[in-house]
């Protein structure tokens, strides 16, 4: 248990620092790179929670694709390289309020949902939690219990994809 705790705190601190870096950085590319650290940290947290599959999905989708698209977009359109753009604006107060509000909502939600229930990861390999993190279990629930929401989300994403293409096409 000690090891997990130590790792959790190391990751958590790193993530928080990187997250501050994301919003504090004056350089868009730096901000995106900080975001990579945050996302990698959350992938590691997933591993700590025995959700391996989700962790690697996080790596593949968020780091491997989303961030790369971010960087791609930034470099293609702005490419500031030398001069740091002034990304600052006077909405710090509003931002802080929203952040606090979000923190409150999420905390309340999590505490209400899980309370102080403990996660037992010292159990045998077949323990419920470890099983829940397996790809098979996940696939079963997605394609049986949650098949409708899953398909709905797919359609939503497809629609937005088509919309983006339509908007961006020049000819």
């Amino acid at each position: 248990m000690i090891a997990q705790n130590v790792v959790f705190w190391i990751l958590a601190v790193a993530m928080v620092l990187a997250a501050i870096g994301v919003v504090r950085s004056n350089n868009l590319v730096h901000a995106a790179l900080y975001l990579v650290v945050v996302l990698a940290g959350s992938a590691a947290q997933f591993i700590l929670l025995a959700a391996e599959f989700v962790a690697w999905v996080q790596v593949l989708i968020y780091i491997g694709a989303v961030i790369i698209l971010f960087l791609f977009g930034i470099m293609l359109t702005r490419a500031p390289m030398r001069e740091d753009l002034s990304l600052d604006n006077d909405q710090r107060l509003a931002g802080a309020v929203v952040a606090l509000f979000l923190l409150g909502v999420l905390s309340t939600l999590l505490i209400q949902a899980f309370g102080d229930s403990k996660i037992d990861i010292t159990g045998p390999q077949g323990s419920e939690l470890v099983n829940n993190g397996r790809a098979g279990t996940l696939a079963e629930s997605i394609f049986s219990t949650y098949v409708l929401p899953f398909e709905l989300v797919s359609i939503l994403l497809l629609a937005s994809l088509i919309g983006a293409v339509v908007l961006a096409r020049r000819d």
Binding site: T77, M81, R82, R170, D171
Partner: protein
């Protein structure tokens, strides 16, 4: 580093209004405008064969405007020739298109001979023709390999260098110089061919023919090579001619014009049987294909010459100090890169009064601003490669 300059800031970069964002929805166009990038290709860039500099304005990877900047290798030959005697000038003009140095000498020597009323003996003419064709093979064979490099295939380039070596050995064997033979004299050539040269020449020609087959397999028949070169950089025949594009570049556009056959007779070409290859497409692939066939045709010519090599002296009687009578003459020849010509104005002295050097690459490259518009950066490289220029031939 990345500058997003407004279009009008660079000379020659004026772009027609409306060509940037052909979008009806102006608001969207503003939002999606990614800004242009000015990219300096060269003067040190592997695709520019030396010190050509291309200033290209890019939208993404699409070229909006391209402006070749030349002159990094300008050596002022037209001025220098006014301060040299006729025999000395051959050392200079050797270095115009340094890959086919021997072919550069021919039209100039021919011009001086015409003004003086001298004709070289037949054997000298045959040797000149032989060496001209050999330097053509050496030049174009390098292109055949190097074109692979331009599209990313490394191996053909090495093959090109490998087989070309045999041709250079032949030129060295005959003239003593691999690159700059300086072998032509007014009235003939410096020496006769050495013993055993003809046998070696036949062997080398066999290698060149085999090598051409290899190129045909590896590049011409390759789908990727065709995808990269077909339909890319099309030069319309009329426009190409009006730009002064010559040689294989123009023949690839379907213009059946070869000075060896159609120009005023020079060397021994009217004794030879050869075919002038043309291609209708005018794209990069056509230029490659035409050059490939021309190499084979050159080999055929060399073999014919070896079979029918005339005997006799290699020098005509010429005065010890060469004075060229007053007059003007324009001599043009079909060089490996295209039309090479000298307009020689003599006032009766031992050196020319004015020599206008018309080099092929200068005009071939002058079409680039028109040709590159709308292409992608990788196509710029294939088009540059397929036009095949030598920097010394542009800058002189």
């Amino acid at each position: 580093m990345t500058t997003t300059q407004p279009p009008s800031q660079l000379p020659g970069f004026e772009v027609e209004p409306g060509s940037l964002n052909p979008l009806a929805d102006a608001r969207l166009a503003v939002e999606l405008d990614t800004g242009d990038m000015i990219l300096n290709m060269g003067p040190q860039h592997p695709a520019t064969h030396g010190t050509l500099r291309l200033v290209v304005r890019l939208d993404g990877e699409r070229v909006i405007a391209a402006d070749p900047v030349i002159g990094y290798m300008h050596r002022g030959y037209e001025k220098l020739t006014e301060f040299r005697t006729y025999p000395q000038i051959t050392t200079l003009i050797n270095r115009i298109d340094w890959l086919s140095s021997f072919a550069n000498e021919v039209p100039f020597i021919h011009a001086a001979e015409q003004l003086m009323g001298i004709e070289a003996p037949q054997r000298a003419q045959h040797i000149r023709t032989l060496l001209t064709e050999l330097s053509r093979i050496a030049t174009i064979y390098l292109f055949l390999g190097e074109m692979g490099l331009q599209v990313g295939a490394l191996t053909p380039a090495f093959w090109g260098f490998r087989d070309r070596e045999h041709v250079l050995n032949l030129i060295e064997g005959a003239t003593g110089g691999r690159f700059h033979p300086n072998f032509n004299r007014i009235g003939g050539v410096k020496d006769d061919l050495p013993w055993g040269w003809i046998v070696e020449c036949r062997a080398a020609m066999k290698r060149i023919l085999d090598g051409c087959d290899d190129f045909e397999d590896v590049l011409v028949g390759n789908e990727i090579f065709q995808a990269r070169t077909r339909g890319v950089g099309i030069i319309p025949a009329e426009l190409g001619a009006a730009y002064g594009v010559s040689g294989a570049n123009l023949r690839a556009s379907g213009v059946d014009w070869d000075l060896r056959r159609d120009g005023k007779p020079y060397l021994s070409y009217n004794e030879l049987d050869f075919k002038v290859w043309t291609h209708q497409d005018g794209d990069s692939f056509a230029r490659y294909w035409v050059r490939l066939q021309e190499t084979r045709e050159s080999v055929r010519m060399v073999l014919q010459l070896l079979d029918g090599l005339a005997s006799g002296p290699v020098m005509a009687k010429v005065p010890r100090i060469i004075k060229v009578p007053a007059g003007e003459v324009w001599v043009e020849t079909e060089n490996p890169l295209g039309q090479m010509g000298y307009y020689v104005v003599s006032k009766g002295a031992i050196g020319p009064f004015r020599v206008k050097i018309r080099s092929a690459s200068f005009s071939n490259v002058s079409i680039l601003p028109w040709l590159l518009r709308g292409l992608y950066v990788p196509d710029v490289v294939t088009v540059l490669g397929s036009l095949y220029f030598i920097l010394g031939d542009i800058d002189r």
